[in-house]
Symmetry: C2
Subunit: 200 residues, 2 copies
């Protein structure tokens, strides 16, 4: 209701995103979040009680941001190749505009914490059955090679998301300037890769 109230709460979430993205759950400091907003740590506890609960907010929201609409694309009524193209577009769009969110989600999911997985699965559940059927039909018509939805999606994710997730390493390894420069030419390259492989 009160303007100041709502503002502070969302300002804290925004600052928390920056902090968690940069340092992860364990490395994040409530003091830095408070400083960035211009309030005291007490305010964070007033709105979120614990660091863990604040993190769960940010993590859940981030998962939704990356994978939230993926299922919609997956069940769209489209020709197979068009659907694949839209899947690639969806993933590349996320990789480009939400790269830090993406790195955060994948990085944190690797921590041995066990209470993360439920939050993830609460945010996103894919219906793969239909897409599997479509692939199977196309394969039996000899339009594409035989492949499961999981394998195809895994390859799309890999080609779209790895450059972002391994960004710092690629910079050291491949002397490549920036991820964004790669991604500008990358949609065609990925579609070529996927489609040539499917229709070989």
């Amino acid at each position: 209701m009160n303007k100041g109230t709502t503002d502070t709460r969302s300002e804290i979430i925004n600052a928390a995103r920056t902090e968690f993205f940069a340092h992860g759950y364990e490395g994040a400091r409530l003091q830095r979040i408070a400083d960035q907003v211009g309030v005291t740590k007490a305010m964070i506890h007033y709105y979120f009680n614990t660091k863990k609960k604040l993190f769960e907010q940010v993590y859940g929201q981030s998962v939704e941001e990356i994978f939230g609409e993926l299922d919609d694309v997956l069940v769209r009524d489209l020709p197979l190749f068009k659907k694949i193209e839209q899947l690639v577009e969806y993933c590349l769009e996320r990789a480009k505009t939400s790269s830090s969110v993406l790195s955060f989600v994948i990085t944190e999911s690797n921590r041995q914490t066990e209470w993360l997985q439920p939050i993830f699965e609460e945010q996103v559940q894919l219906g793969l059955a239909r897409f599997n059927d479509e692939l199977e039909t196309a394969a039996s018509n000899y339009e594409i090679a035989s492949i499961t939805a999981a394998d195809l999606l895994l390859n799309i994710f890999a080609l779209c998301y790895y450059p972002v997730v391994a960004g710092p390493i690629n910079q050291s390894l491949l002397e490549t300037s920036s991820i964004r420069e790669i991604n500008s030419q990358r949609k065609g390259l990925i579609l070529d890769t996927i489609l040539n492989w499917l229709t070989a």
Copy 2:
């Protein structure tokens, strides 16, 4: 010299690997490392002085473990397609036998710490010039599509390493049992993908 001495030091490193792999730098606890070895925290400081220095040991060693011999493969005197196959084999081998090391390296490299990059680059420097020449020659002979070494390597890394790095997510997302099961069929799939794309 003394048997007990050398043993304890390497036992600490081993325990530290497990701890850092599971919890990252910030989440790791010297107490847990000491407990696992069966000594006190004081011993860790005796051998490594600080947590950061211990971490640098583990991190540098891990980077070497994953990317150490990559450059050797890159400069081997082999036909192009054979070299590409060996690159895929090299990466898949690492993905399979050192998956936790790989996840650790990529995950930690995403932290905003700035003192990690020098350690990484100290461990591995790739000579891409020759491989770039080979690709350029093959392209001008119309044997493959025109592609840079960086783009090709990035795709190989992506297809080999992403399934490992995003293992926990894939499990939630694709209902796939385990990474190892995927990887058993995966070499052929990746080679198909890469070669069909190059020679399309």
